[in-house]
Amino acid sequence: MASTDTGADFTLDTAAELAAEEGGRGIEGKSPWFLAWRRLRRNWVGLGALAVFLAIVLACLLAPVYAAHVSGMSPNDTNVGGTITVDGKTVDVVSSGGVTTGPNGEIQVKAGGVPIGPQWWHAGGQYVLGADSLGRDIATRILYGGRNSLQVGIISAVICAIFSIMLALLAGYFGGASDWIISRSFDLIWAFPVILLGIALGTALAVNGFHHFGINLSGSSLWIPTFVISIVFIPYLARPLRGQILSLRQSEFIDAAISQGANPMRVMFSELLPNIASTVLVLFTLIVASTILTEAALSFLGAGVQAPNPSWGTLIAAGQNTIQTAPWLGIAPGIAIVLTVLALNVFGDALRDALDPRAKVRIEH
């Protein structure tokens, strides 16, 4: 659930109170954005989280460079029968096995199929984090998986934010029947747990893709989990925005704008939207963390990114079966998700504190 709370404290001199919070420095004449930035830059933890997130994004963006110049393998390149040189010795990427018949006709089995573990830099950059059962380079797949996870997470959050803002503005500004229809639609989506709805939509669309309204998406298209995730999160963002707009709609400056002849579009986008921008910004960072986590969950369950495209969720799913013998396969993408989501949540909190120190905005689902 998402909620806003402007706090219970009441003061007739907010400027003085904020100035006190700002360490006595004057705030008169300073824009809210300047003040927010001044608060944010003092929050080292928040900035550190942002740096971690940006570093992860940068690393994922550089995945093609890593694949071309370090690992020498694309994310889906298999190498079951390949060998590499480790410290001068030639070793199988996936251990050999097979069946032979012994001298007395008995079956002799040499177990195989075990992928090579992390080589760090002993193999010249190949298989830094090891291989999977098809001999694919795990480090390369984690970086490409990160691209997919971040792409799905961020784009779905953007789509979600756009729809949420539009719907919240329509519902909040016009009220009445528009508000009722939009709010009930939110209730309908909200009635289903995010993961359950995501699985239902994702599985249905992954089987045959989406071929309606002139849009043709194959079952393996990344746009399918992107749209699914964006849809399921709309109420979580739109509801608090609608509440805020309903409140703002009663404000004098809105009445003034209307009385001056401003049309609804102008009121919505020039008057209301700037006043909910800080809330949107804070909620957006938290929604991105949630969408990345949801993408991982859906992909883990087979309803998100489809094989062989890697994503952090599919990589964890692939690694779970070998958690005892090759734990790196599941742990490495897990760490990537934890770092990303933690960084976004910490930065989101910092942003909230900076934009409105008294606000309590959170996302729950």
Binding site: G98, L134, Q324
Partner: protein, 560 residues
């Protein structure tokens, strides 16, 4: 049947017709490899013990009329008996059909169309009711009434047409005549059928009392007539098997009386957890395949407690010849050249032998095919020549089985490499064969496998490669192989006189059919014959393990 975890839901096998008594001698098994040559008897050799704890793979039903999975059949072999059974023995002997509820093998008419059995006397079900001759037709009718996946096996019985048309309202089959007072069952066939005794040895033909409800029975399953009875079954969780209180020792001398008094089973499909139960000593036997990533470690550490056994199975890729690009011979040959069978064995953890044949090497009709050398350049050339380069191809595979998933992804990589725009669709194992077996899916290429129901080539060619048996749904001929010359040859080989059914000429003809289909028509892409594993706890003596035609026989397990 489909693999250890997934037997097929429908078999049109009964259509396969040919000769007869052949089977009584156990056709087609003379060169089978075996772990031992242990054979069964009605005695227990003084090796009885109290309780056997096992961990077992999940199954579909515990009803012999409905289940088509090995996990159930493996248990049924000591619970539900038919008129005949396959010998509870390892190796070549396991394919021999021997009498079970019948006192002897049937008398067969000279035209090989009439089979007459006489029941043993004094047999009772676990609920105390006597075993009667009329239970046999009642059992087959119950199969029809439940739309059992096994009903296709009985389509050659005189009078079965009505039941095939309206299975749920089937009341009688004129070709089955039972006489309770004389204890005889007579079965009339429309034409000779080479595999008919094998059909009668399958659990679908195992007798249940007349009046058993025609609906899936779970807890408890239908009354037993063998040495054991399943007293409790919690689907997907557990089962308990005890000695049948109404089974007199030695009353069916061809079936082992059994060593454990009680078998307590835990059901799971988690391979690692399953193996761990045996390692920790909380289970005595692991029916599941050992996890391939731990196979080497377990093998080293537990040595003789791990047993491997060959299975009459072929793992292969189907190629749908009704849709491009695989309606083109060169495209199909390209896949055969493009895949590296050694790598596919590796993906299966080494548990397999590469093959290019459709028939497993355990068959006397097997003649090794060595035609396709792994040659990516040639595969690319063939794709180019087929005029299908760049075409979109979707590989189907099972997504919730790590090996099948990896196998599908490997194939997708190969198809991409040799020139197609290959994608992949991973489906849940529970629905996979239903989906790809539906013509509406138009599945182009994908993973599949086949484990024999009984050891005769009709179970392979008749079911999987005969174009006249293609169905719109539940289709087992996933490649839609439909070569008129091949169909005709299958038909011919199925109608040979009895003395020719096992002859060298017939075996050669089956072998030629195998060769033609795999080489001349490139109808499938066979890549390996599989091995399975048995894993015993330290207190068990693995040398007692008997691998019957339905795999490891729990009744013969013994303590050290």
């Amino acid at each position: 049947m489909r693999s250890r975890k997934r037997w097929s839901s429908v078999l049109g096998a009964a259509a396969v017709v040919a000769v007869l008594a052949v089977i009584a001698a156990g056709c087609g098994s003379s060169n089978k490899k075996s772990a031992s040559s242990t054979s069964s008897s009605g005695s227990n050799s003084g090796k009885t013990f109290d309780t056997l704890h096992v961990v077992w793979g999940d199954t579909d039903y515990m009803d012999p009329g409905l289940s088509y999975r090995l996990e159930s059949w493996q248990l049924f072999q000591n619970i539900y008996e038919g008129l005949v059974t396959q010998k509870h023995a390892s190796g070549a002997d396991s394919t021999t059909v021997i009498p079970a509820l019948a006192s002897a093998l049937p008398t067969v008419s000279s035209d090989a169309k009439n089979y007459k059995f006489t029941l043993r006397k004094g047999l009772k079900y676990s609920n105390g009711k006597p075993v009667k001759a009329s239970d046999f037709p009642a059992t087959i009718i119950r199969d029809f009434n439940m739309n059992s996946p096994g009903v296709g096996f009985y389509s050659n019985i005189v009078g079965s047409e009505g039941c095939e048309k309206n299975p749920t309202t089937c009341k009688s089959i004129s070709g089955i005549i039972a006489d309770d007072s004389a204890g005889t069952v007579e079965i009339k066939l429309q034409k000779p059928q080479s595999d008919f005794l094998y059909v009668l040895s399958l659990p679908f033909s195992a007798l249940v009392p007349k009046g058993t409800p025609a609906k899936p029975l779970t807890n408890p399953p239908p009354p037993a007539n063998g040495p054991y009875v399943m007293t409790s079954y919690q689907p997907h969780k557990s089962f308990v098997i005890k000695r049948n209180p109404n089974y007199k020792a030695g009353s069916i001398p061809t079936v082992p009386q059994g060593n454990p008094d009680v078998v307590i089973g835990t059901i799971t499909d988690d391979l690692a957890a399953s193996a761990q139960k045996v390692i920790s000593g909380s289970a005595d036997y692991d029916e599941n395949l050992l996890p391939t990533d731990r196979l080497s470690t377990i093998q080293k550490k537990y040595g003789d407690q791990v047993k491997f056994f060959t299975t009459p199975s072929t793992y292969y890729f189907f190629m749908n010849q009704r849709t491009p690009p695989f309606d083109n011979l060169k495209a199909r040959m390209a896949v055969n050249y493009g895949i590296d069978r050694d790598q596919l064995v590796k993906i299966r953890g080494g548990l397999g032998k590469t093959t290019q044949n459709f028939l497993p090497p355990t068959y006397p009709q097997y003649k090794k095919i060595d035609f396709y050398k792994h040659d990516v350049a040639k595969a690319k050339q063939l794709v180019q020549q087929s005029g299908t380069k760049g075409m979109k191809v979707t590989v189907y595979t099972i997504g919730d089985d790590e090996i099948d998933k990896a196998t599908g992804e490997y194939l997708q990589g190969v198809l991409k490499e040799i020139g197609w725009n290959a994608g992949i669709r991973e489906l849940a194992g529970g629905t996979y064969f239903t989906v790809v077996g539906n013509q509406a899916t138009k599945a182009q290429i994908g993973f599949t496998d086949w484990f024999q129901d009984y050891p005769y080539p009709t179970d392979w060619f008749g079911v999987l490669q005969d174009g006249t048996k293609i169905t719109e749904t539940h289709n087992n001929n996933n490649s839609n192989v439909n070569v008129p010359a091949v169909n005709k040859e299958i038909e011919r080989l199925s109608h040979l006189p009895p003395d020719q059914a096992k002859s060298k000429e017939t075996n050669d003809a089956w072998a030629k059919l195998d060769h033609d289909l795999m080489v001349k028509y490139a109808s499938q892409v066979p890549y390996l014959n599989g091995l399975l594993t048995d894993f015993f706890s330290k207190r068990m003596d693995p040398s007692c393990n008997v691998i019957t035609n339905f795999y490891s026989d729990f009744s013969q397990y013994c303590l050290k």
